[in-house]
């Protein structure tokens, strides 16, 4: 039987598992014996995207390395909610040092493993967007430039959520945060060039750079496994919605991430040695409104006195992404 074709069409092709798929076609999260690198009992908010992203990514890394993973964590939500004395949720060797030094600490771990001849053990460093694009950026660039054998994962929730939702270098334009209030003629965060770390990472010509969201597990896990095939510096940027900071229902975390991708605001792609090698095409294109209007941080763009001008500006940014990465599959363009 042409199982491949049937597989493509069948019910739940995009679901986590599906009984009709053979084991290796299901995601790791479908395995009853998955690692659960981060265990139950952590203190993340209801519907935390970062808790999800971290388990997805590290479980995938664990599978790719046969359980030989050491994790380094920057200060931030993930660190605070996973290891408040006297409890830790981690099931893998894990080290937290400081907010801004995760890449360097990971370099040290990798160096030590090399010196000790532990070739099979791999290092994953993880941080939020603050620890990546802002305070940790110097160390990150250094780690890239030296091409140290570290997979660095940024869980991007677009702000300093741990400290009460302040603006970070990854906060999108017009978004309301505690330090970019939704007041005045230009409410919310400024419109700037933004800090596109994936592309900055690519500029270092490191072996592997990719973006992903918690909305597409198959994609996220494949990218982690792909990253593990390389040695040297690798960067994975994962969009993880924050119900608290974004003002979205805890039940919609994954849905919102999906809209971010399908609106074109968050391009999902991968690159090797500075060259984009693949993009995830948008399956069900949506206008940015559909994404923005579900989040209270963008309330001021709608409601009583709406700001279509700003929404249009954001739509333009999405369109630019769609054009830059070719996010709409050619065969879809006319139909959509």
């Amino acid at each position: 039987m042409t199982s491949q074709r049937v597989h493509f069409y069948q019910v739940g092709s995009f679901a986590v598992g599906n009984r009709l798929l053979n084991e290796e076609e299901r995601t790791i999260q479908a395995q009853a014996d998955r690692t659960n690198s981060i265990d139950s009992g952590h203190r993340a908010c209801q519907g935390c995207g970062e808790a999800l992203g971290a388990r997805y990514a590290l479980d995938a890394a664990m599978r790719a390395t046969n359980g030989q993973v050491v994790a380094v964590n920057a200060t931030g939500c993930l660190e605070v909610f996973s290891t408040p004395y006297p409890e830790t949720s981690w099931r893998i060797p894990w080290l937290h040092s400081l907010f801004g030094n995760a890449p360097a600490v990971a370099t040290g771990v990798a160096a030590a493993l090399r010196a000790k001849g532990k070739k099979d053990v791999r290092v994953v460093a993880q941080a939020g967007d603050g620890g990546t694009v802002d305070i940790g950026f110097g160390c990150l660039s250094g780690m890239f430039e030296r091409n140290d054998d570290v997979l660095f994962i940024c869980y991007d929730n677009e702000g300093y959520m741990n400290t009460g939702v302040q603006r970070s270098g990854a906060t999108p334009p017009a978004a309301r945060t505690a330090t970019t209030e939704a007041v005045g003629p230009e409410p919310g965060n400024v419109f700037g060039q933004g800090k596109d770390v994936p592309r900055i990472a690519m500029a270092h010509d490191i072996p592997y750079v990719a973006t992903a969201t918690v909305a597409d597990l198959h994609d996220l896990e494949r990218k982690v496994e792909r990253a593990m095939e390389f040695h040297g510096a690798r960067y994975l940027h994962v969009l993880v919605p924050c119900p608290l900071g974004w003002g979205s229902p805890s039940s919609e975390t994954i849905h919102i991430a999906r809209l971010a991708q399908e609106s074109g605001l968050f391009p999902v792609f991968e690159a090797e040695y500075g060259v984009v090698t693949s993009v995830s095409h948008i399956r069900r294109p949506v206008p940015v409104e559909e994404y923005l209007s579900r989040q209270r941080r963008f309330n001021h763009l709608f409601g009583a006195n709406p700001r279509p001008d700003i929404v249009a500006h954001l739509q333009a940014m999405a369109d630019e992404n769609i054009a830059r990465y070719g996010l709409i599959a050619p065969e879809m363009e006319h139909s959509s």
Partner: protein, 541 residues
Amino acid sequence: MKIPFAITLDVGSSRANHTGSWRVERPVYVDRLPPCNNACPAGENIQAWLYEAESGNYEAAWHKLVEENPLPAIMGRVCFHPCETACNRVQVDEAVGINAVERFLGDLALENGWTLPDAGPDTGKRILVIGAGPAGLSATYHLRRLGHQVRLVDSAPRLGGMMRYGIPAYRLPRAVLDAEIARVIAMGVEVQLGHVVHDVEQERHDGKFDAVFLAVGAQLGKRVDIPAGDSSRVIDAVNFLHQVAEDDPPLLGRRVVIYGGGDTAFDAARTARRLGATDAVIVYRRNRERMGASGEEFEQALGEGVTVRWLSTINKFDGDRIVLEKMQLNSEGFPEPTGEFEELDADSLVLALGQDTDLSLLEHADDVTVRDGAVQVLDSMMASPTGIFAGGDAVPAERTATVAVGHGKRAAHSIDNFVMGSDAQVKERHELASFERLNTWYYADAPRTERPELERVRRQTNFEEVIGGLTPDNALFEARRCMSCGNCFECDNCFGVCPDNSVIKLGEGMRYEFNYDFCKGCGICVTECPCGAIDMIPERN
């Protein structure tokens, strides 16, 4: 202490922290009633047998299917499949081809000689089933499974009722009809053909039956008197189709006019074409929108060269010319005469204006109510507390084979309750699985597999079956288009998307359960469940 105090911790220790206490709402797994099941007149558990078919377990699928309906190969051909009209998938791309898969399973069963479940242990009860059409056969099947003895009588020389004498062979090949009927009879049924029951009470008394199921159908074609010359060839569709079915087709000439807008009219027209008529013109007093026939049949008929005269009534028919009067619909949508006339050449006129039931056998059954030529029954299909039940075309309902099969089943169970003296336990139905509850992102677009149609030319000249079957490959594909509305199909989404690892996977076929020790009640599993099989309910404390 081995490791440094406080700054270093042993793995997994957070399991001591039961975050379930954060919860104000809890997710619960539910089963909802899929719209297809809800819409099936035969009460088939469609989703259940599709579920089996999805994994390619066709035999298991077929057995699930015949739990409710012993005639899948027939239904797969003649049913107007309201299930597909109700299918939620319509709103994603197109309905799942349930009817096609049903036929595929039915045919596969015939090929492989799969047998129906054995008759139940004998109860000693005797039931008389009058009429061997879909209702009668369905009732017989279920009664036998319940262990009752059945005598099946019919006035016609062969079994099948309207399925044989109403539905042309190009829609239902006789081989299939015979095979599926034979399978029912093989369960051990006393059959009496060519036997006309004149007095149901007498018949029951003579045969010492504990109950009777009346499924005599509607065999009498309605007549209207149209001024017509003696030479004019006028015949009603029921007889016409009956004679064709008996391989004794009447001579209608080259130009045939059919009067009426129901399926029977189209069956007659298409049959006339096959018998050699150059023109088969349907005359209908209303317009396309108000026509009774199914769209499918209409399209096929036009494809075969049948033409239609909308908004017309036949005023008179003399020999070789028919006079039509143009009509127009009034505000209520009723046709009114316009006084305009036109003529139409015709060698014969077939009247397809509906059918009546011959209920003379009920004359002495005092406590059976007949109104508007139909037997009045309760939901249980009971027509008389003395033990007379009725179904099919003889009772007020949509006159389709599928409805009849449903009647047969329901009647059988009511009869069982009646003769065994137990009272009907009505199993309460789940809430409907609405489209809104689905998360269709998880379903890939998958256009429906159309069953191949014979090219028109061939169709016009013979009675070969018009609609072909599915191949095993596209049958599987079609089955897998089912979205399993409202019923868990074990996609692992809830298990995978829980940020607190608080879903427990119980293993193949055993679904999942929530670990409320850790579930914080975020509701992601509810949003991300593709088929809407999880509800969020308030925590009661």
